[in-house]
């Protein structure tokens, strides 16, 4: 032991030197920016559509747009959960792709870092896009990302179960509570939604909160408390299983598919799985509002396409051409149809709803849908955490809805 101590000084020097080495190395990782005069033949794209059928749908659209712009597409798909960490890693090593897809609530977070180029730099038109879609893609008055198609959530109901119980699809909270209670029997629940402690739980709560005039900037309000009271009552009555506290949206869909829930809150991306079960007859209505006459404000979902600041103007221009092409009218209509999503241009809505009656309710909802980051921008994740914390506190009975919201807001 003593002898080890005696030799510890050179060792300490060596360790210090070697710890410093990677820090030096990481500083040398800047990519050599090639001159912007040479012709661009290939651009890189990164997105999170790593599962079929979306992987192919998006891949085909990208290839077609690349051909139109005269470039080949080098595409990388990563799992949704690791996209942001990958983007952060690439932005620190200056190896961002030429075209980057982001989930819309993440856009402002990434735009705030300065890693994205404003689309106005490339004269890209943002006319006709639904206001919610634009606000999702906007950071500090500049549009950084555009979504060709978007989605939102609504109330799905099992036609057979409702008909048998003599219940019509609810339009107000009172009707919803009555219907859910009536449809609950045996191991069948009236309604299923998800209230888990993730942003998904927040997302499913937003329609009732927003439609009732609640605001994410301050959740300690009467309007939001009323909305949370509805969620709490539904669970307390037993009309919604308390498992909702741990379900994902996929679990909610499974409950609905299995006939264990007569109604569910979910999005149009579930339609392919629902259609696979031929015996299931379902309908879609807007999520009920507290009083008839209130407008349904649903949260906007979907992915935006952006052009990162790679430092190479020629490549960025080509990337912008591809993003613009993805957002063209034809592509919006085609992608929306195959992917069960909604075109983000309001001018296409009427035609689309007519051709795709199954998506008519969602098309209607998108017109008034709000972006989660529309008001709070990069502050959204912190506030979204507070919202799901309050939901969990109220639903487990640890505090009354208004008390839970007050606690969460004060945190």
């Amino acid at each position: 032991m003593k002898s080890a101590l005696r030799n510890s000084r050179p060792l300490a020097v060596a360790v210090t030197a070697l710890v410093g080495l990677p820090i030096l190395l990481s500083g040398c990782g800047t990519a050599a920016s090639s001159s912007s005069t040479e012709p661009v033949s290939e651009i890189s794209v990164m997105d999170y559509y790593n599962n079929e059928p979306d992987k192919t749908f998006i891949g085909d659209a990208l290839t077609a747009c690349g051909t139109k712009a005269g470039v080949t597409i080098k595409r990388e798909t990563v799992p949704g959960k690791s996209l942001i960490s990958k983007v952060l890693q690439q932005s620190s090593s200056k190896t961002l792709p030429d075209v980057l897809m982001l989930d819309n609530p993440d856009l402002q977070q990434i735009a705030a870092t300065g890693a994205l180029a404003p689309l106005a730099d490339f004269d890209m038109s943002t006319a006709d896009f639904a206001p919610g879609v634009l606000s999702a893609g906007t950071y500090k008055d500049k549009v950084y990302g555009l979504a060709p198609t978007v989605n939102t959530i609504a109330l799905f109901y099992n036609k057979d179960i409702l008909a048998k119980a003599g219940v019509t699809p609810p339009a107000t909270w009172d009707e919803l509570e009555a219907a859910a209670a009536k449809l609950t029997s045996g191991d069948q629940y009236g309604l299923a939604f998800n209230a888990n402690p993730t942003y998904e739980g927040t997302w499913q709560f937003l329609p009732v909160m927003w439609s009732n005039g609640g605001n994410e900037k301050n959740i300690d309000t009467e309007e939001t408390a009323q909305a949370l009271q509805l969620w709490t009552d539904l669970v307390k009555d037993g009309s919604v299983s308390s498992s909702a506290l741990n379900w994902t949206q996929a679990d909610v869909k499974d409950q609905f598919l299995a006939g264990k829930a007569a109604m569910m809150v979910n999005g149009p991306w579930q339609i392919p799985s629902l259609d696979k079960q031929a015996s299931l007859q379902y309908g879609v209505v807007k999520i009920p509002v507290r009083e008839a006459g209130q407008t349904v404000v649903a949260p906007l979902g979907g992915e935006v396409w952006t052009v990162p600041q790679t430092g190479n103007k020629a490549r960025q221009a080509k990337a912008a051409e591809v993003v613009s092409c993805l957002n063209s009218d034809e592509n919006q209509l085609a992608m929306a149809k195959v992917r069960n999503t909604i075109p983000s241009k309001t001018t296409l809505a009427a035609k689309f709803a007519e051709e795709n009656p199954k998506l008519a309710t969602f098309t209607e909802l998108v017109k008034t849908a709000r972006a989660r980051t529309g008001q709070l921008g990069e502050e959204w994740p912190a506030q979204a955490t507070k919202i799901y914390t309050a939901i969990q506190t109220a639903l487990t009975g640890k505090a009354s809805p208004s008390e839970a919201l007050k606690q969460a807001q004060g945190q």
């Binding site: 030799n7 360790v15 070697l18 710890v19 960490s85 620190s92 870092t113 402690p197 741990n246």
Partner: protein, 343 residues
Amino acid sequence: MSLTTDLSQATPPNGKPGVGKAGARRPGSGRAGSRDEPDGSAPAPRRRSRQRRERLFQWLFLVPAVVYMALFFGYPVVKNVVMSFQDYTTATFFTGEAPWVGLANYVAVLSSSLFSTSLLNTALFTVGSILGQFVIGLALAIFFQRKFPLNGILRSLLLLPWLLPLIVSSAVWRWILDKDSGALNRFLGDLNIVDTGVPWLTSTSLALIAVVGVNIWIGIPFNLTILYGGLQEIPDELYEAGSLDGATGWKAFRHITWPMLRPVVSVVLVLGVVYTLKVLDIILGLTNGGPANSTQTIATQSYGLSFQEFKFGEGAALGNILVIISLVFAVLYLRASRRAVDE
């Protein structure tokens, strides 16, 4: 350790014990010098260069290990400590700018109302898991000491939880523990033990117990394997001699097995604590810290701060607090294992 000891003995003595560098620092090493150089008239410079070269080579052999440690252990730890004193946000990744904020991150984390909940949950989770894993692991290890048919097959089947990816285990357990259609509630219902679904994962009072239960299931193989190995080391003669003196059954365990197994037990327990403190995937997979933070531990909270709220500085600060807690147990482990070697 032995390498450095050798190094000291090979240090070039100056021929005169007590005068050279080595001798000055440690008079005892003069012994080596007087043995190496009895008369002090040998060509000292050449020998010195040879010895210097020898020493250089000894250092060169150390380089790969040192580089590896520095790169994969030193750098992340240093980086994490530095990060915990910075306002490290998503923008930092692009601009490289992370303003120094002193202890602000630590203050924010420690004063958050969630911290005490997480700390308590971490303690309950760790103590509960270790107790369960150890007691069941030891009982099984002793059971498998007996010779019976299928012993080997059964023992290898028990390793299964260890071999499954944690994400798979937690997904399966999430399904088993579901309130309405979970296998466990169906089973209990069929036995008429419960009539309505037990909300294993969605009740604030049961969720932590359920998560601890799953973690015990995952930890049993580790405890079983190490303790079984320790039991095999105990010579049969001791039991034979003991039985002549009347020490059988519980007495044999109390006076022969337990004292002989002590060194292994301390290693198992301390490693278990360090492994359990940092458990993340199981909790995220089962409950995501819910319901209402009742399964939130320091590890899950740190993950949430960094990767969901993008507050990397606060996440790092909380991570460091967890590292310090683990370090206490790691030091205990080092001391325990050194004692085990000395014994």
